[in-house]
């Protein structure tokens, strides 16, 4: 109870400072915390998440509590059912304390700047004049500021890794199909994944075990339970860096990444590789555009998007309605070639490694992209999401002005335990994850 009270007070006191919370679920949290306390006292211990507070990105449905998808038109909308992830964490004894802020429709309308949430622009606890990243913005901020021990976010392309990078926390994007998306907002059916944001890779593994596994309500889920393996890798790991992957990164991001590679070189082999020449970004972006156009077709046609917070989200979804079916199918056919090429390139290695993002948090009032989504290079994001590969971001340093930067380990499909072991080993060699933002007292 004490733990829940502590975090509820922090959510209520500090949540508005960072625009990171949509709804504090105080009544539900206290009920769940009381039950957890009683069960633990009776010796019925459910596991490591029993009694632990958490927050859900506000695209996960929760019975009796608004689920806004971050969008003004849905401010009071209740989807009266619990998402599978919510049920699984309840069964693990975790205590749902908040629905967390997110970019409206998970960025599916093409936003270009942080002020794209019904709760206001999500502010970064490391410097509230900078952005958290998105679209799991509140999830990143809440964990970084110690408003919650962990959160569950979602990623279609970058939405877990980006806030993990900007907020200096660990963010795990599982293999596509590892976690049921039943009850979560759909942005792109063949790209959406749910995953944890927490303080460490270790925590991410524990949380993933609780939420992973098959679900008859989501036919894309991978059969068989997934168990978190805390043991280190038995062999000397081999990592690959895609040639030139950090060349266009911010200099401080690049320096921190180079330092991170130096740190791990004593324990792992690192080689540069080339990927075969394919239009990776075009493939994944086209899939995203086509599926999002269909997922939100009725909503866009209804004119509801005209009431969204970001002006560019009013007209952003219109152009993609002209995308041809043959181009979507070409992207899906090329996806097979992409999977084959990436599988072959990764075969000798345990993981690809790269900066989690090319730049640290950008100013809160500034456009973080001035062009249409997809026009900038992000081969790791395109390949990782297009091929459904797991990846974890953990902090790898800070910029001169104190903003975190991150390193990502991207694994083969179903190899979450490998990338967790690598990230855990890196966190064992560094102390970036033990640093916390200043001034996070209510």
């Amino acid at each position: 109870m004490e733990l829940a009270e502590t975090f509820l007070n922090r959510l209520e006191g500090l949540g508005p400072r960072y625009n990171s919370v949509v709804t504090v679920t105080r009544r539900l949290a206290l009920k769940q915390a009381r039950r957890a306390e009683e069960e633990i006292e009776e010796g019925n211990y459910r596991g490591p998440l029993h009694g632990v507070p958490w927050g859900a990105k506000d695209l996960l449905s929760t019975r009796g509590i608004p689920t806004t998808w971050g969008a003004e038109p849905f401010r009071d909308r209740i989807i009266d059912a619990d998402a599978t992830v919510v049920v699984r964490l309840r069964d693990a004894g975790a205590v749902l304390c908040a629905k967390l802020a997110m970019i409206e429709f998970a960025g599916g309308m093409g936003y270009r700047q942080p002020n794209a949430c019904l709760t206001g622009p999500p502010r970064n606890p490391w410097n509230p004049d900078t952005w958290t990243g998105g679209s799991s913005s509140g999830s990143g901020a809440a964990v970084a500021a110690g408003l919650l021990p962990f959160a569950v976010g979602s990623e279609t392309w970058g939405s877990i890794l980006s806030p993990a990078n900007n907020c200096g926390v660990a963010g795990l994007r599982p293999t596509y199909g590892r976690v049921s998306r039943h009850g979560a907002m759909a942005l792109c059916w063949t790209l959406d994944k749910l995953g944890p944001l927490a303080q460490t890779a270790e925590d991410c593994g524990t949380i993933l075990q609780a939420i992973a596994g098959p679900d008859p309500e989501d036919p894309t889920t991978i059969p068989g339970a997934w168990r978190y393996n805390k043991r280190p890798l038995k062999r000397r790991p081999r990592l690959a860096v895609i040639k030139g992957v950090a060349d266009d990164a911010n200099p401080e991001v690049k320096d921190n990444f180079d330092d991170a590679l130096k740190t791990i070189r004593g324990y792992v082999d690192v080689e540069e590789i080339d990927l075969p020449d394919l239009p990776y970004e075009a493939i994944t972006r086209t899939i995203l555009n086509a599926e999002a156009a269909s997922a939100f077709e009725d909503l866009v046609d209804s004119g509801l998007t005209q009431r969204l917070t970001a002006p560019e989200d009013h007209w952003g979804p219109y152009a993609r309605t002209a995308l041809l079916a043959t181009d979507y199918l070409r992207a899906m056919r090329l996806r097979g070639k992409m999977v084959k090429a990436v599988t072959e390139a990764m075969e000798p290695f345990d993981a690809l490694v790269a900066p989690s993002a090319k730049k640290p948090a950008t100013p809160i009032g500034e456009e973080f992209r001035k062009v249409a989504p997809g026009a900038t290079r992000d081969v790791m994001g395109a390949v990782g999401n297009g091929c459904g590969l797991p990846a974890i971001s953990v902090p790898d340093g800070f910029t001169e002005v104190g903003l975190p930067t991150g390193i990502q380990f991207m694994g083969k499909p179903y190899e979450e335990n490998t990338i967790l072991a690598l990230a855990r080993a890196y966190q064992g060699l560094t102390d970036w994850h033990t640093r916390h933002p200043p001034d996070t007292q209510p």
């Binding site: 093409g110 063949t190 008859p216 036919p219 394919l278 239009p279 970004e281 075009a282 493939i283 972006r285 086209t286 555009n289 004119g303 005209q306 560019e312 009013h314 007209w315 952003g316 219109y318 152009a319 993609r320 309605t321 002209a322 995308l323 041809l324 181009d327 199918l329 070409r330 992207a331 899906m332 056919r333 090329l334 996806r335 097979g336 070639k337 999977v339 062009v371 249409a372 989504p373 997809g374 026009a375």
Partner: protein
Amino acid sequence: MSQLQKKEADTLFELVKEKYGDRVTADELDEMRKGLDAILSAATAMRAVKLENGDEPYQFFKPSQGEK
């Protein structure tokens, strides 16, 4: 952009304009055109890759969820 690609972009943009043009300003219309050009530029990059007749979409259709 080739002449044919430009014609394709113009034609598709007319459709978008027809459907949503009354909801946007002239500046927003310009941005929408840039968005469509980015979509078609991705399409052009993909169309340049040779595919064989048997290269199926990487999405597996099953008649039902049950195993037989």
